[in-house]
Amino acid sequence: MHPRDLLNEAMAGLLARPVRSVLTTLGTVLGITTLVVTLGVAATAGNQIVGRFDELTATSVTVEVPENPFPLVDWADVGRVTRLRGVVSAAALAESDQSANLSVRSNDVVDPTRVTDQTLTVVASSPGLPAAVKGRMVEGRYFDAGHIARGDRVVVLGRHAADMLGITRLERAPAVFIGTQAYTVIGVLGDLKREKSLASAVMLPPAVGKRYGLGTVTRVLVNTGLGAAELIARQAPAALSPGNEALLQVISPSSPTRARDAVEGDVNALFLILGLVSLVVGAVGIANVTLVTVMERIAEIGLRRALGAARRHIAAQFLLESTLTGLTGGVVGASVGIVVVVAVCAAKQWTPVLDVRLAVMAPAAGAVVGLLAGLYPALRAARMEPVNALR
């Protein structure tokens, strides 16, 4: 028997009952759609989580400077880190236990209806802090090298700290009191992506910070380009404190690929089971209908046997019919699934991640489902004796 003839007969068999063929396909369409949607959305969602993970952490390097008889890192040393290839921004910070809970107040006019005294953290930083925490100046500006050199009594407030102190505008150069000392507020820093706790802190120039035990650098925040974190993590200590690099502690991001695997593994296992269950349901549907079709076409089977069809020809035809049914379901299911994944992504403003293998494997899976579902009915058809089939 010529393969073209086999295909012809199978197609004619399916097209003879178009409505039934379409309905038979539905189960597989549902199964494959579920599978493609679940896998597609899982992959996309997994990628989103990893994407955020990448943005936040994969480019953040922190160098901790321990207490030491002499300062390990000088404020000016940060400049050397900034010049390293792969560093996007860097800033030095000084924090101390002594300055962690200072009483800060917005002016010396005591308003009885309002509690203006706040307990806030005070830190000192190098001028590059806004970029280093990936924040922006909501109001005013950050202090610069000039302020530091002149020893200006200026501060920048974290946005939350400014809210708590009731400072919203800077036109009239508001002042804050740290203890008894007055400082001019020149800026408000907000929208921090890193070191979010600084939103409720008061930032001082290092020259002024000495007064509160903030004279020496305790931490250096570094942001790198994508993929450069590992290298910078190795180079930064030497750049900051040549000869003492072993004393510095570097905190660098964990490998992003492992994070991705962990996320996808969990999500996929659950969704895969769902899709596979739907596929089994689809297979049972095809098997059922094909069996009914075989029983209805006993006379046709008898005729074909009389015309010289061997058992394997009969089996092949029914197998091909069920396989084509499954394949059609797979193709339609894959298409619908991809459309749904794209729609979900559009709704969630995600970037769809469509695995080409999935688009190819889904129809193939449908065909395999059809093939397996057709095995028993095809066997029944082939086993029929021509005499009985023609009776």
């Binding site: 028997m1 010529h2 073209r4 003839d5 012809n8 007969e9 004619a12 097209l15 003879a16 006379a299 046709e300 008898g302 005729l303 074909r304 046997r305 009389a306 015309l307 010289g308 069809a309 061997a310 058992r311 020809h313 004796e385 021509p386 005499v387 023609l390």
Partner: protein
């Protein structure tokens, strides 16, 4: 002397039952090339059983059956299928045309399981339809045609591949007298062209047209 088309030797068919049913008992039959044989007999006498034997649709319990010189009783299932497909054309009482396929496609179906080439199949089918004078119904679906036309389409299908034997089981059982005439005229023509025809019938009109009548009673044959 050439081989006969059919040579039955002591052919017996028993159906397992309690007691066993001996549908054919020790039958001898010889049908020469371009013979036209009618097999007649009352209901339950074994006509269909004999046709199933002749058409290689069922195996005898014992005895020999040479078709066109080939001993068929020792053949394996697949070889019997090949012989059946290539040497026997079947005509059934209920036509057995596929309802969703055109007349032409139904006729072409006869070659689907053969070893022949696909090339020229359409032309051969058209020629077979010409032989049964159905050239004007080539694209019709079977449901749109009269009983006589349907049976002629079925005969055209049986003629594809030039069979050695045309086996007909009550070919006019579903036809009125006018259509019966048309089919019988066609048989005469085919026989004149050298085809061997065996017809099972209980209609006198059909059996009288045949050159030879064989009566079967309780599984035994007798020439008339």
């Amino acid at each position: 002397m050439p081989e006969p088309v059919i040579l039955l030797d002591d052919l017996t068919k028993e159906f397992p039952a309690d007691p066993p049913v001996r549908a054919l008992s020790a039958i001898d039959l010889r049908v020469e090339r371009s013979d036209y044989v009618a097999i007649v007999g009352p209901s339950g006498s074994g006509k269909s059983t004999l046709l199933n034997m002749l058409g290689l649709l069922d195996r005898p319990t014992s005895g020999g059956y040479r078709l066109d010189g080939i001993e068929t009783t020792t053949l394996k299932d697949s070889a019997r299928t090949t012989v059946r497909g290539s040497r026997i054309g079947f005509v059934f009482q209920s036509f057995h045309l596929l309802p969703h396929r055109s007349v032409l496609e139904n006729v072409m179906l006869a070659e689907v399981y053969g070893r022949g080439s696909r090339r020229g199949r359409r032309e051969r089918a058209l020629r077979a339809l010409e032989r049964v004078r159905l050239s004007h119904r080539v694209g019709f679906l079977p449901g749109r045609m009269s009983g006589g036309e349907r049976q002629r389409a079925a005969i055209a299908r049986a003629l594809m591949g030039e069979p050695a034997l045309l086996l007909c089981d009550e070919p006019t059982g579903n036809l009125d007298s006018r259509n019966t005439h048309a089919v019988l005229d066609l048989f005469d023509e085919l026989r004149a062209q050298g085809l061997t025809i065996v017809v099972i019938t209980h209609e006198n009109e059909v059996s009288e047209r045949a050159a030879r009548r064989v009566r079967i009673t309780d599984g035994t044959l007798a020439e008339e």
